[in-house]
Symmetry: C2
Subunit: 301 residues, 2 copies
Amino acid sequence: MPLRPALLACAIALMCLPLAAEPPKYRSAQEIIDAAPADAWRTLDPANTLYLELGGGRVIIELAPQFAPAHVANIQTLARERFWDGLSIYRSQDNFVVQFGDSAADEATAKPQGSAKAKLPAEFARKSEGLKFSALPDRDGWAAQVGFVDGFPAGRDPASGQVWLAHCYGTLGAGRGAEPDSSNGSELYVVTGQSPRQLDRNITSVGRVVSGMELLSVIARGPQPMGFYEKPGLRTPIKAIRLASEVPEAERTPLQLLRTDSTAFSDATEARRNRRDGWYVQPAGHIDLCNVPLPVRTTGS
Amino acid sequence: MPLRPALLACAIALMCLPLAAEPPKYRSAQEIIDAAPADAWRTLDPANTLYLELGGGRVIIELAPQFAPAHVANIQTLARERFWDGLSIYRSQDNFVVQFGDSAADEATAKPQGSAKAKLPAEFARKSEGLKFSALPDRDGWAAQVGFVDGFPAGRDPASGQVWLAHCYGTLGAGRGAEPDSSNGSELYVVTGQSPRQLDRNITSVGRVVSGMELLSVIARGPQPMGFYEKPGLRTPIKAIRLASEVPEAERTPLQLLRTDSTAFSDATEARRNRRDGWYVQPAGHIDLCNVPLPVRTTGS
C-alpha cells in the first residue's frame, strides 16, 4: 500500500483536504464491454449489411453510405441483382488484401452489371459536417486526427474539414484502375494485412467486415507479387452476396456492435491504451487507430 | 512545364545563378531495389537462421542475438537437439499470432528440453551502445523514435538510451507467462496480424520471419478468443526446426536481404512515403515502421 501523507497533514493542521481517492480498480477492456449497458449497443441496419456467402461460412459487412453514397447504392443494386453470385475471390496477396468480383471484368466475357451504374464519382473523402467524429487522443502519422464515425475508423483534417474512412484490417474498398473515378463497386477488396493507410484518400472505401474475417484471412495466397491466381481453380467461389434486408429474417445473423461514441467504448479503449492487468510491465500509453477492436456480439447474448 | 523565371533573371542581370535542376524522375521502390548495388545486399548468417519446416514448405527466420542473446542461444540449443521436431503450431488467433512449441508444456507429459536452460532473464530491451540505428523521420505513437537495426524494425528512447525490437508482421517472439522472466524460447509466436506494438518491451522478441510468411498467415484460426485449438487434430505439425548451419549446404535456401542502412533502402522507403506513380492522388508523406517492406531475394537473382 502507498503511504498516505495527506492523513498526517490532516491530523496536524486540522484542515482536512479531501483525501486522494483510491485509484479505481483497473477493469480490462473485456470487463468493461461485458458490463456495457444495452444502449451502448446498436443493431446493424439490414439495408446496409452485406452477407458474403462462402463455402466456409458467412462474412458480414457493414456498408458506409455516409462516406460513399454512390458506391453503396450501386453495391446494393448489384447485390439485389445477384451480380456476384458464382463469381470469385480471385486475388489474395499476403499482408495486404483479398479481392473479389468478376475476374473477367476487363475482357469481352465480362458479366453484365444489369441496372448498376458503370461510372461513379470518386468518393475518397467528404466534408465533416453532419458526422459525429469521436476522436482518439493518440498521435497518428497518416492523419492530423483519427477516430471513429458510426463504428468506422476514420481520419480527419481540421484544416480542410475533410473526413475519410481509414484502411484498417477488415476495411472494404472499391478497386479502381488508373483513373480516380474508375471504380463502381463491382470489384471489391478487403484488407487482410497490416493497415495500408497509404491508400486513405486514394481510393473509395465503402465499409468494413464486422464478422467472419477469419474466413477471408486464411485464403491461400496467390503468386507474388500481387496475389492474382494464375490457375482459376485456386479461386474461392462466391456462393452469393446478399443484402441482409433481402434475406428472410430467420436466416439473418443477429449482430450488435458496440457504439463507438459510447462511454463503454472509450473506457475499453483507455483500458487497452494503459494495460494494468499484471502481465504488462510497460503499458504503452498509446493505441493506434487500427489496433482498436470494434466489439461485436450476437443479439441478446 | 513550369515557368522558369531564373532564366529571365539571368538574361537581365548577366549573373547566372545555377538553374534549378529538373526534379529527378520518380523511381518506384521496386525500381530502386532492382537497381541496388551488390553491396546493398547482405547474406543471412546460417548460424542465426532457422528453418521451420512445415508440410507446405519452409519458413525462414532470422534470429536477433544482438537483442536477445540468452534466448537466441537457447533456441540454437533447442534446434540442435531437435526439440521442436514432431511438435506443432497449436494456436492461431485471427489478426494476432500463430504460436508453436509443446502444447503439453504445462503438463506432466511435457517434452524434455535437453541441455537448454529452463530459466532465462527477460530480454525486453537493451542499451543502444554498439548498435547502428537507422532512424525513420516518421512520427510514431508507440516510441519516441523508430527505425531499423541490422534489418530489424526497432524502437528507441533517447531519454533512457534503450532500444528494442518492434512487433510487426512476421516478428518472432518468445511466449511467456505472468512473470517477465518466464520465457526460455521453447514456446514461440509469430505475428500474423496488425502490428501489436503494445507488446513492445513487454516480452522478449527474438527475430523475424524473412521468407514464408504466407505459410503461417493462412493457418486456419482456432476458436475465439485466443485461437488455441480444442481438437489436437487441427494443429499444424512441425516437421523440423533446424539452424541453417546444421543443414547441408545444398539444402539451404540462399537468401539475401537489403541492408536497412543502405541508400537503396532509404531511397525505396522515401519512394513509398511519397508515391508519385500516377495512381496515387494524395501521397501520404508518411510511412509507419511496420509498413516498410524488408526486401529479400534469392542469392544471385
